[in-house]
């Protein structure tokens, strides 16, 4: 069937902010899907609250709404835009749930909007565990035994029927949030309780455990003619029990015979038909009992997913694009394979390499390791291709940027601390270090068969790992010959690994490789295992002889280094900047070469750059690409800290770094030399010092005066940054820090309490400097800038101070000879402007500023780097006058992952913890703040009971907050001290017991859901634990909570603005014409 002509306008829902379980992959899918639909002439209306996405670039859709993904907002937009269809399958679980909500509220019917991609019934059949089970049983598929419940009454008898362990799965949650595995009744009761809380429909499924079984996923597509293809099969190395998002996975499946695999394929086909998906893609998960081969279906996601993004990158088959086309009526046989051009899309890709995906975790941010279970906890992932499993596995591990150059040992001290019983326990409960535990067990002589029994990891993978250990022994024992080195490279060993094993330096191994002509070859990802000629330059490295990546003859060629796996502090914002850089350079006629290893991203879509290399971002791997391509230069400033950390070595190796010079980068990162620069320019900075020993640290801290901000040198996302209040604090910190680091050095800064923090993004061509965004943080300095809400234009800074910020920024940019982007963080205290940090690179706020101002900063910066002058790239006159005031306000708010980490304190500090962000655009600051809050999932109340409890320092501000809340008609409640304080100042409030004072106490109040809002600011040092239960319970029970007094004030203003009026919506296409300058 050709495309449908009864539809003109399609509403596409994005997935909102990056959260654990839902990341860049939906920007990748959404962007691809929207492009595919516009190609066919459809008008696209997009809603996504996440500004750091390519999909919300104003040129991509006809109408772009950066608005909260709530049913109310979407309904407003539907009423306005009157789309004929809604495509919810590109925006993850968020979009799917939203579509269901809209259908159930009658919105779709009221406005005659047709759900395309997946019908409502199919979504519900897949999502509602009860219906899913019934549907699967009807078609004869096996499932784990299970029971649905909505309270705790029959728990005991159900547990007896299913047998322990029991898997707990709440209905309709993201990434399995709130689920888990229970090994005894007590645990089960707790988990079911939490799961009921997490489930928006208050239903929980209890399931027979298939923990330890083999886990498989099939990425499938089906069209209206019942044509069906499996795009990719994925086998998890981690067995069932570990969420697939947290599992190390391999494509294609490795250890099933054809008969076993085809039977699974048949079942997937029957399942998707029974669910009723006939125009799109699906992910089907299976568990296979490794002893008997019994196979059960686990779940179906009737939409594109993280796995489908992986499958697309792994095979070259663009699932999202085809899913979008199927949704508007095309069938698979009507579309052609972009890569081969001659063959149709209706086929099953064959690949001739092995793909490994490894997740990246961020537990260190939360001070606690969590066992891996059925609730996803990882924040990012890498993918690698190799001709063998060993090669792809080792490449993925080094791409992870966790300090490992491949499958390597953990430090000896850690390994030695594991006695036999510790090791056995660690083998039975998977944590993020499980691979290294397995490695240690292999070292100690446990066999793959034994390890298979203990871990559930298939012996095939364990044998592969053992082979790697055996080969390391050869490298250590034998004389290094060209043959041995070549074999090492073929097994994926990096130069660094080889160097360590033979007791040489990485550069020695590199030199030997060159001498012996052992260089990587590049092979094509072509969907067809070389059966047909391929036209898409999408490559991976291997040491397999013939290289297919012939160097292009183009003189104008630039390489852009990506940002690697998502982590807290470095995520989608940097991929956004990289994609913009590529787009800008292509506009200027450059051939672009992209290097990255994150399969979720837009930058690794094969049609973004001219040549895509899917490679780890290590010196060795990047050099391999550059030596093969010989670009005129490399841009390192868009991919965050990852490429920036390579700058020095690349430059020393003779690579031309385009834009800001490596010297300037070094200067900005060298605290001492940079301090001198600031002095020279007359820019104030907090007093600081550096320490190389605990003793020195103490001396420095005392000299500066408490409180101090302390951190290790070269940090990302405020890693291990802390505000310390006294000698004890510094001793404890230094003891930990000096034990953990190989080259310990601490930076200690005088901490500016209660200062206003400001983020600045600027771009310079070496002559002119354009200050594009001055963002005022809502939270004060001390809360990591990545975790603070911020607003543009600033809402409380005086015009005079704004001018000083501009002047100081320009001066610094010129002094550092910035060419490209620069991000500065300032603090304002008592009328003094302090510079906190200067980063000569793209920042997390670049997309936010670009969306707010309509000026694509990263694109402008890329063109500047390519030699264009700023004045030719900016709206006329702006360079002279500076950016005029925006006729509206933009607020960025962050989203935090605390809900995924039970028992952690949901509190902000100098260590960054947020995973993503949303943007609120509205007429003024209060309204844009309110919108950003709604978009971040914390809709502000307009009436009800507010609980107040603040630290002493915040008490002065409390009166104005409490008074205003009162005026707005809220009732107040507080515990003893605060209550007395309020009463003393004539503010009426109810009283409630503190914990331990009596019942019911404040936590009971929260649990009863009687509160509209909780305000709890943790005190500086002591008594953080007092507030912990309040904060944690509020979070777990979904009560809006504010933990920062400055944020309280913003909240109060926002609530006042919300009263009486509803928030409206606005498309970027209507907003930008309001600007006093022209944007493209």
């Amino acid at each position: 069937m050709p495309k449908r002509t009864d539809i003109e306008t399609i509403l596409v829902l994005g997935s909102g902010p990056i959260v654990i379980g839902q990341a860049c992959e939906f920007d990748y899918s959404g962007t691809q899907g929207i492009k595919a639909l516009r190609e066919d002439g459809y008008k696209i209306v997009l809603i996504n609250s996440n500004p750091a996405t390519i999909m919300t670039d104003p040129g991509l859709s006809d109408r772009t709404y950066i608005e909260p993904l709530t049913p109310e907002t979407v309904e407003l937009i539907i009423a306005n835009e009157r789309p004929q269809a809604l495509l919810p399958t590109l925006g993850g679980q968020t979009a799917l749930n939203l579509a269901v909500a809209l259908a159930e509220r009658g919105v779709l019917e009221r406005y005659k909007v047709e759900l395309i991609g997946a019908p409502l019934d199919a979504i519900q059949k897949a999502e509602d565990r009860q219906r899913f089970k019934a549907t699967m049983q009807e078609i004869g598929l096996d499932l784990p035994k299970s029971r649905m419940l909505s309270d705790l009454s029959e728990l005991q008898s159900i547990a007896r029927e299913l047998g322990f362990p029991v898997v707990v799965r709440p209905s309709f949650t993201l990434g399995g949030t709130g689920g888990g595995v229970a090994y005894n009744l007590e645990e089960l009761r707790d988990k079911v309780h939490n799961a009921l809380e997490a489930s928006p429909v208050k239903k929980v499924l209890l399931e027979e455990s298939v923990i330890g079984w083999k886990e498989y996923e099939l990425e499938v597509m089906r069209d209206a003619k019942d044509n069906f293809v499996v795009v990719c099969s994925i086998e998890n190395i981690d067995p069932m029990g570990v969420h697939t998002g947290d599992s190390i996975t391999v494509a294609p499946s490795q250890t099933l015979t054809d008969r076993q695999y085809q039977a699974m394929r048949d079942e997937a086909r029957r399942a998707i038909s029974a669910i009723g998906v006939s125009t799109g893609g699906c992910n089907v998960q299976f568990a296979v009992d490794p002893r008997t081969g019994r196979r059960t279906i686990i779940e179906i996601n009737p939409r594109v997913s993280r796995s489908s993004a992986l499958a697309s990158k792994a095979t070259g088959f663009p699932i999202a694009k085809f899913a979008a086309k199927l949704a508007v009526g095309y069938t698979l046989d009507e579309m052609s394979n972009d890569i081969t051009k001659k063959t149709p899309a209706c086929f099953e890709p064959s690949i001739d390499y092995v793909v490994t995906k490894v997740p990246r975790f961020a537990f260190e941010k939360f001070g606690k390791e969590f066992p891996l279970d059925t609730a996803m906890k990882s924040v990012g992932e890498v993918m690698a291709c190799g001709r063998t499993f060993k090669e792809s596995f080792q490449k993925a591990l080094r791409g992870l940027e966790t300090g490992k150059a491949g499958f390597e040992d953990l430090p000896k001290e850690i390994r030695d601390s594991w006695d036999e019983s510790t090791l056995l326990r660690k083998l039975s409960i998977p944590y993020s270090d499980r691979l290294f535990v397995v490695r240690e067990a292999l070292r100690r002589g446990l066999s793959p068969a034994e390890l298979n029994r203990m871990t559930g990891i298939d012996a095939w993978f364990l044998d592969q790992m053992k082979d790697l250990l055996d080969f390391e022994a050869r490298l250590e024992a034998e004389k290094l010959t060209p043959e041995l080195l070549r074999e090492a490279k073929r097994q994926g060993f990096s130069d660094r690994q080889v160097a360590r094993l033979i007791g040489k330096k990485e550069s020695d191994v590199r030199a030997l490789r060159k001498r012996w002509d052992i260089i990587p070859s590049y092979k094509l990802v072509d969907t067809c295992a070389a059966e047909f000629e391929a036209f898409t330059p999408y490559y991976y490295s291997t040491y397999d002889g013939e290289s297919e990546a012939q160097r292009s003859k183009k003189a104008k060629k630039i390489a852009i280094l990506g940002s690697g796996p998502n982590r807290i502090g470095q995520g989608i914002e940097f991929d956004y900047a990289c994609v913009h850089a590529v787009q800008a350079l292509r506009e200027l006629g450059y051939e672009t070469v992209m290097v990255n290893c994150n399969p979720e991203t837009v930058s690794t879509d094969y049609d973004i750059s001219d040549r895509l290399y899917f490679e780890p971002l290590t010196f060795e791997d990047v050099m391999g690409v550059l030596e093969n391509e010989k670009p005129q230069g490399v841009i390192v400033q868009f991919g965050g800290q990852t490429p920036l950390n390579l700058t020095r070595r690349l430059s020393e190796a003779g690579v031309k770094i385009l834009g800001t010079s490596p010297k300037s980068t070094d200067l900005a990162e060298d605290r001492m030399r940079f301090g001198a620069v600031l002095k020279k320019l007359g820019i104030a900075a907090p007093a600081y010092g550096a320490a190389r020993s605990p003793k020195e640290a103490l001396a420095v801290a005392r000299r500066l005066g408490y409180p101090v901000m302390v951190r290790p040198s070269y940090v990302l996302g405020g890693r291990a940054m802390e505000v310390v209040f006294d000698d004890d604090g510094i001793r404890a910190y230094a003891a930990k820090a000096f034990a953990a680091s190989e080259h310990p050095e601490l930076f200690i800064d005088r901490f500016l309490s209660d200062a206003v923090e400001v983020d600045v993004d600027a771009v310079s061509d070496g002559v002119d400097v354009f200050v594009a965004g001055i963002m005022e943080h809502i939270e004060e300095a001390g809360v990591h800038s990545g975790d603070s809400a911020c607003t543009l234009p600033p809402h409380s800074i005086t015009p005079g101070m704004v001018e000083r910020i501009k002047t100081s920024t320009k001066r610094l940019a010129r002094e550092l000879k910035i060419v490209g982007l620069m991000n500065l963080q300032y603090a304002i205290k008592d009328g003094v402007l302090y510079l906190l940090e200067a980063n000569p690179r793209a920042s997390r706020t670049v997309p936010f500023v670009s969306k707010a101002t309509g000026l694509p900063l990263a694109k402008i910066a890329a063109k500047v780097i390519a030699g264009k002058r700023l004045k030719t790239l900016l709206p006329p006159g702006i360079l002279k006058t500076g950016l005029p005031d925006l006729p509206y306000a933009a607020t960025k708010e962050v989203v935090l992952p605390f809900i995924k980490f039970p028992g952690t304190d949901p509190m902000l500090g100098p260590e960054m913890k947020s995973t993503g962000e949303v943007m609120g655009l509205d007429v003024d600051f209060p309204r844009s703040f309110a919108k950003a809050q709604a978009a971040s999932g914390q809709a502000l109340p307009t009436s009800g009971l507010v609980f107040l409890s603040v630290r002493d320092e915040d008490k002065p501000h409390l009166l104005s907050v409490a008074g205003q809340l009162k005026q707005l008609g809220f009732d107040l409640v507080a515990t003893g001290n605060t209550h007395a304080f309020l009463t003393r100042h004539g503010i009426q409030a109810k009283t409630v017991f503190k914990l331990g004072e009596g019942k019911p106490d404040v936590v009971d109040l929260i649990k009863q859901r009687n509160l509209a809002l909780v305000i709890n600011t943790p005190s500086g040092k002591r008594a953080r634990s007092d507030g912990f239960s309040i904060r944690r319970t509020s979070l777990d029970f979904g009560v809006p909570i504010v933990t920062n007094i400055n944020a309280c004030q913003a909240v109060v203003r926002a609530v006042a603005a919300l009263r009486g009026t509803r928030l409206g919506t606005v498309a970027l296409q209507d907003l930008y014409p309001l600007l006093p300058y022209k944007v493209n």
């Binding site: 069906f228 054809d258 394929r265 086929f347 001739d352 095939w460 092979k523 059966e531």
Partner: protein
């Protein structure tokens, strides 16, 4: 473990050196590549690969070992096996031995450590070539000389090398229950299978369908077959060039005259084409894999098929009663034919799959329905898919 060096030399002079991972020795054959991700055991034991050296494009082979239930014939008939990496420690609950042990026991030389992608690209560009794998002669020049003297596939009667010596009954069904089968035959129909190198998957499918199966040698005459009083005849797959198989073609003509239902698969399809007066030709590098999209022109639906052939029927050479029923969407070649006057149809690919997706199993149902009609049962079964 000592690595035994091995060489692979192509007739164009390309030399690949690797390690032996099968039997030692020296064997010549036509090199073909297979793009299936799973199913190396079925490939190894598929008699259609007689005379050929098979290159697997998927680089990791042998992962799940060899099972008892997945042999497609008594033994491997291929000349050699080329892989990137051969797995020595297989893992699967059904595995009974490792692939290299099986290859060695079966006397099949195999070579690993080869850049199979480079080799595949060469075969794609230059077409199928002769080659040699040797673990005994490691002199590329001498091997090249020998390769160039080895016979080509065209004109060789390979079916007689792989067919059975005497007819035998077959009663083993598919190991997994298949939905929609068996068909409601009033009496078990008797299907005679002409064995040109038949895969057991075909025989198992017929049994699962509800048929009584007798396998007869390739050189059985039409009269021999009719004497068995079959309700239908299946023309099996098999290796190589169909044209030299003059006697089977004559036998098929006799069966057509008898208006017996005929179902041809792969070589059987080509032989039916020749028996109807058509011509066949050799493809550049053939179709060998499990992912070829084929459109059934009668329903418009696409099936993902298992393919293994180097020759093809020129449909334009056929009489007008024979029409194309299926088309390969990759290259537009004809993949199936049906006769409008006679109860005969055939496909170029493998509805029994093994290895490969089960999308085309409906063709057995189609065959069964043809039998049902002939047996006077009007309510034919729907052509169920997997």
């Amino acid at each position: 473990m000592v690595d035994t060096p091995a060489l692979l030399v192509l007739e164009d002079g390309t030399v690949f050196s690797g390690r032996s991972c099968g039997a030692s020795g020296e064997r010549f054959g036509e090199l073909v590549f297979n793009t299936a991700l799973t199913g190396y055991q079925e490939v190894l034991t598929d008699p259609s690969y007689c005379g050929q050296i098979v290159v697997m494009t998927y680089p990791m082979i042998g992962n799940y070992g060899i099972t008892a239930a997945d042999h497609e014939s008594r033994r491997p008939y291929l000349e050699g096996f080329v892989v990137r990496e051969m797995c020595k420690h297989p893992s699967n609950w059904e595995s009974v031995e490792s692939a290299p042990a099986f290859l060695e026991r079966s006397g099949v030389p195999a070579i690993e450590g080869i850049d199979t992608r480079a080799l595949t690209r060469r075969l794609r560009e230059r077409g199928a070539m002769r080659g040699v794998i040797s673990t005994v002669d490691l002199d590329p020049k001498s091997l090249l000389r020998k390769v160039r003297l080895s016979p080509t596939m065209a004109g060789l009667d390979l079916a007689s090398r792989v067919t059975c010596e005497a007819s035998y009954p077959w009663d083993e069904a598919l190991p997994d229950a298949v939905r929609g089968w068996p068909l409601p035959f009033p009496l078990k129909p008797h299907v005679v299978v002409m064995d040109f190198g038949v895969k057991r998957g075909i025989l198992r499918s017929l049994v699962s369908l509800g048929c009584r199966v007798t396998v007869v040698p390739a050189l059985s005459s039409g009269e021999d077959i009719l004497a068995l009083r079959p309700d239908a005849v299946l023309l099996s797959n098999g290796p190589g060039d169909p044209e030299p198989l003059k006697e089977p073609i004559a036998a098929i003509r006799r069966l057509l005259d008898a208006r017996l239902p005929l179902f041809g698969i792969c070589l059987g399809h080509q032989l039916l084409g020749l028996a109807l007066g058509g011509k066949t030709y050799k493809l550049k590098f053939g179709h060998h894999g499990s992912n070829h999209p084929v459109k059934d022109l009668s329903t418009g639906r696409v099936e993902i098929t298992s393919q293994n052939h180097g020759f093809c029927v020129d449909l334009s050479s056929l009489p007008k009663e024979a029409s194309t029923t299926h088309v390969n969407l990759n290259d537009g070649t004809s993949e199936g034919l049906a006769h409008s006057q006679l109860p005969a149809f055939s496909v170029q690919y493998h509805p029994e799959a093994s290895a490969g997706p089960h999308d085309a199993r409906y063709l057995f149902t189609r065959f069964g329905n043809m039998l049902l009609e002939r047996m006077g049962v009007r309510a034919a079964a729907p052509e169920l898919r997997a």
